[in-house]
């Protein structure tokens, strides 16, 4: 089984020193090692953004797709080869902005795959414009007067749309993040892991320190029931805050918001998907019966 070092390519990560992507990369490699997944059994898919550059650094079977389109690309893989576990990495602009429609539909399909969102609340790769999860009033090169709209609430959207696994992690807490990754990858169904991934270069507000001062774990919250959809939704609303809020005024929950096991996945409802579909093209298909309907 591949070890952490085997998952590394010869290329050195180009992320800025201190970027949250380094921690997420490490957490994923370690989780993959611990899950003892052979290389042949999983496929990775990335969108475009700083997060997506990770495609060059993780040695595996993977595809670095288009900006915003990682989920449908991954869906094509998952729906044509049931032997592959599929793990997708996206950015917040990538997954919630330009690819937002695919996010909603992947959730409601409960397609069996893991969707990890590198949520740095900014467009990193394109030099710091506002993202769909940027806080309201945040000033960026594309919003010099401050962001006007409310941020997307990805956890809330996923919960509302019927997701069967929704979690939020923080790149500043790798052991916790690994627990979430493991649970998500093992979950049968669509698993959403939104990860606070501070961008040290462009987002000067939501920094590591900002999160360290504010995050708390739902696992440690007395009375929190991750099988209660309403509670999960209400808790997801707690992420919104004033940009300048003091640490004790705004707390940010991380952990598993919601999970529901035993629900049918999209793949479960495809009885024809028992083996890789490339086998269907080993020889021409016999369509003589189908032709009869058109014959005189």
């Amino acid at each position: 089984m591949p070890k952490v070092a085997d998952f590394e390519t010869a290329l050195t990560p180009t992320w800025c020193p201190g970027c949250g992507n380094h921690a997420m990369w490490r957490a994923l490699k370690e989780t993959l090692e611990e899950l003892e997944l052979p290389w042949t059994d999983f496929a990775m898919v990335w969108g475009i953004g700083c997060h997506g550059n990770g495609a060059d650094f993780l040695r595996c079977q993977g595809f670095h797709g288009l900006h915003g389109r990682a989920l449908p690309l991954a869906t094509g893989i998952a729906l044509s080869n049931p032997d592959l576990k599929v793990i997708v990495e996206m950015g917040d602009g990538d997954g919630y902005g330009i690819g937002g429609n695919h996010f909603i539909h992947s959730v409601r399909r409960n397609i069996d795959m893991t969707a990890i969102f590198h949520n740095n609340q900014i467009y990193g790769l394109t030099t710091g414009q506002a993202s769909p999860t940027s806080d309201q009033f945040m000033k960026t090169p594309s919003t010099p007067g401050g962001v006007i709209e409310e941020p997307v609430n990805p956890v809330g959207v996923a919960v509302a749309q019927g997701a069967t696994f929704v979690a939020r992690g923080f790149a500043g807490d790798i052991p916790h993040l690994k627990e979430l990754y493991r649970a998500a990858i093992q979950h049968e169904g669509f698993a959403v892991v939104d990860v606070f991934q501070p961008c040290v270069t462009w987002n000067k507000i939501n920094t590591f320190k900002w999160f360290r001062d504010r995050v708390y774990k739902l696992e440690e919250l007395e009375g929190y029931d991750p099988t209660d959809r309403t509670m999960a939704f209400e808790t997801s609303m707690k992420t919104f805050h004033e940009l300048t809020c003091a640490p004790d005024e705004c707390k940010v929950p991380i952990g598993v918001f919601y999970r529901e096991e035993g629900m049918a996945t999209y793949q479960d409802d495809l009885p024809q998907l028992t083996a890789p579909l490339h086998k269907l093209a080993d020889s021409p298909r016999d369509i003589s019966k189908t032709l009869e309907a058109y014959a005189g």
């Binding site: 290329l11 079977q61 389109r69 005189g296």
Partner: protein
């Protein structure tokens, strides 16, 4: 110049018109099946607005003992289910043609009596009610038309059973009664009609099929495993066809959230080695463009159907045009190899689709089937598809075992190189699941492994770009060549160049002209890209006089001929009103040109 010989009496042309939602197309196809069973050649044409109810629909059926290639303008029997049909189509009726109508619904005022028309009043609604419901008016009319032309009723009963096979058996039986009422009424009350088509005994079996069904069958035959689409007329019926056969043929069909998803999913499925396809019309293809380019740079074997309707934007959803040729040839940013195949008829739709999958695998690049509404929506009788001719060639594909068994695909360090530079530009494609086949499919430019970062070096860019573009040379040796009809260009009064579905009306026109002693040569380009410049240049060079017939305003094929062959044609004929050329129009256009000569 002699007149076009009169085809009257040698074939039957029926038009059924009425309000949308009255099952006009279904009724028409039921009639078509009767003649198919009798061994006759068939071409139909459905015209309908983009509405579910209301608005005018009409169905045209042409039946002949001789080979035919398209619809025509003339109508021998008009079934007018409403007054609007008379207003819109009476002038298409040949002299002495019949109008079947219900006097209760269609008042004779204003168009009857007329010495040129044979009125056939039939109490359609009354008979339909007797049989069980007014909805069966059009079935009564089908019985009436068969009686009028002295064709036996039996075949219609069988065809109605096919039409209503998915309903309770009583439905078919009531319709059979309705048809019989119409049939016997006309037999008894209507004087002899001059048109009497006859069936052909022991004629070879044929299929009655539309272009989209043929594309779907071609994909199935090729072993398609994954099909994704978002509904868009006129491509939607491929989705319906595929979905209908999802379970019996083990294909995964996905109706996606949009066309962006459809194309990306197809690329994902192709990544696993699955034969993958998506299809749409021009608007949906616009959304697919970026991923279409990704298929190019990531060397993904996907088949994309683009079924044209008049554009731009939402355009005219249910009508036809040939205005997407340039668009499809150039779609997506950057440069990458692609193959674009344009079937001319239903038989070719089948053949080119299964071949498209082979080409996509052999070249590891996207292949487009470029069709249009005329082809996709309308049925023709074609010889039963030769399933023994279908082959599967997956090119350099490995789906099992260990990639180490393929040393030619490995780098110096023993690593598998998905994008290894080769002589023909095609690299060994070992899919995920094959041991050692670690790889990165990439939408970025990349190195031989697939990594994006080293892909930015000038050397790597040149190597990978040239590798991909060289596949076009290989493509030229694999793609189907043009079709030629009629006489050789040197022997023709005019040599006509065309592509796609216009070849039908052009062949028909050429046949009529030949009967009048005007020899015509036809070249139908089948592979639009890579463009067969040599063949086109030869054809033009040999001809005394040349003409392009294409269904667009700007002369897209003509532009390609100028660009690729540094030659031009002498004349061009265009149509861009949403309707297909009729042979009559083409004959007139050619005669005009020859008269000036």
């Amino acid at each position: 110049m002699p007149e076009v010989s009169d085809r009257r009496g040698r074939e039957l042309r029926v038009k059924i018109g009425g309000e949308a939602g009255f099952g006009i197309k279904a009724a028409g196809q039921t009639l078509a099946r009767v003649f198919l069973e009798a061994g006759l050649d068939i071409a139909d044409l459905t015209e309908y607005p983009s509405l579910i109810r209301g608005g005018h629909n009409d169905y045209f059926l042409r039946v002949s003992q001789n080979p035919i290639f398209s619809h025509v303008e003339d109508v021998d029997v008009l079934i007018a289910l409403n007054r609007e049909t008379v207003d819109l189509h009476l002038d298409e009726l040949v002299e002495g043609g019949a109008v079947i109508f219900d006097p209760k619904e269609v008042s004779p005022a204003g168009w009857l009596p007329s010495g040129k028309i044979r009125p056939v009043p039939v109490p359609l609604e009354e008979f339909a009610r007797q049989a069980g419901g007014a909805i069966m008016r059009n079935t009564v009319a089908l019985g009436a038309v068969l009686a009028l032309v002295h064709f036996p009723l039996e075949g219609l009963a069988e065809s109605l059973r096919v039409q209503f096979a998915h309903k309770a058996p009583e439905v078919a039986e009531s319709n059979i009664i309705a048809a019989a009422l119409g049939y016997h009424y006309v037999s008894k009350n209507v004087p002899d009609f001059w048109l009497k088509p006859r069936g052909i005994k022991n004629a070879p079996k044929q299929l009655l099929i539309d272009g989209n069904e043929a594309i779907g069958l071609g994909a199935l035959a090729a072993g398609v495993g994954f099909y994704a689409a978002y509904p868009m007329t006129p491509a939607s019926s491929i989705l319906h066809f595929m979905a209908k056969h999802e379970r019996d043929h083990g294909v995964v069909i996905k109706h996606t959230e949009d066309e962006l998803a459809a194309m990306n999913m197809a690329v994902g499925a192709a990544f696993t080695g699955t034969r993958a396809m998506c299809a749409t019309s021009g608007g949906g293809f616009a959304l697919m463009n970026e991923a279409f380019g990704m298929a190019g740079v990531s060397e993904s074997a996907v088949v994309v159907g683009v079924i044209t309707r008049p554009g731009p934007a939402t355009g005219m959803p249910t009508w036809t045009e040939q205005s997407d040729l340039r668009y499809v040839i150039h779609a997506a940013q950057g440069e990458f190899p692609r193959v674009v195949l344009a079937p001319g008829d239903q038989a070719e739709s089948f053949e080119l689709t299964w071949k498209a999958f082979n080409l996509a695998d052999q070249l590891q690049t996207p292949v487009v089937i470029l069709g249009d509404s005329y082809l996709s929506d309308n049925r023709r009788s074609v010889p039963v598809f030769d399933l023994d001719a279908v082959t599967v060639d997956r090119g350099k594909l490995v789906t099992e075992g260990d990639v180490a068994q393929h040393p030619e695909a490995l780098g110096e360090n023993g690593e598998y190189l998905r994008y290894k530079v080769t002589d023909d530009g095609v690299s060994l494609r070992a899919v995920p699941g094959v041991k050692g086949a670690l790889q990165l499919g990439n939408s970025y430019e990349h190195d031989e492994y697939g990594y994006g970062q080293p892909g930015e070096s000038a050397e790597t860019r040149i190597a990978q770009n040239e590798k991909r573009m060289h596949k076009l040379d290989l493509a030229r040796t694999l793609v189907p060549g043009p079709n030629y009809f009629g006489v050789a260009p040197a022997d023709a009064d005019i040599a006509v160049l065309c592509w796609g579905s216009t070849v039908g009306p052009i062949r028909e026109a050429a046949m009529w002209l030949a009967e009048e002693g005007v020899p015509v040569a036809i070249m139908q380009i089948v592979t639009m890209w890579p463009f067969p410049a040599m063949e086109v240049a030869d054809f033009i060079g040999d001809a005394k006089r040349t003409m392009i017939v294409e269904g667009n305003f700007t002369g897209q094929l003509q532009g390609l001929v100028r660009e690729q062959c540094l030659l031009d044609v002498d004349h061009s004929l265009h149509r861009y009103d949403g309707r297909q050329f009729t042979p009559e129009r083409i004959v007139a256009g050619i005669k005009e040109v020859l008269a000036d000569a």
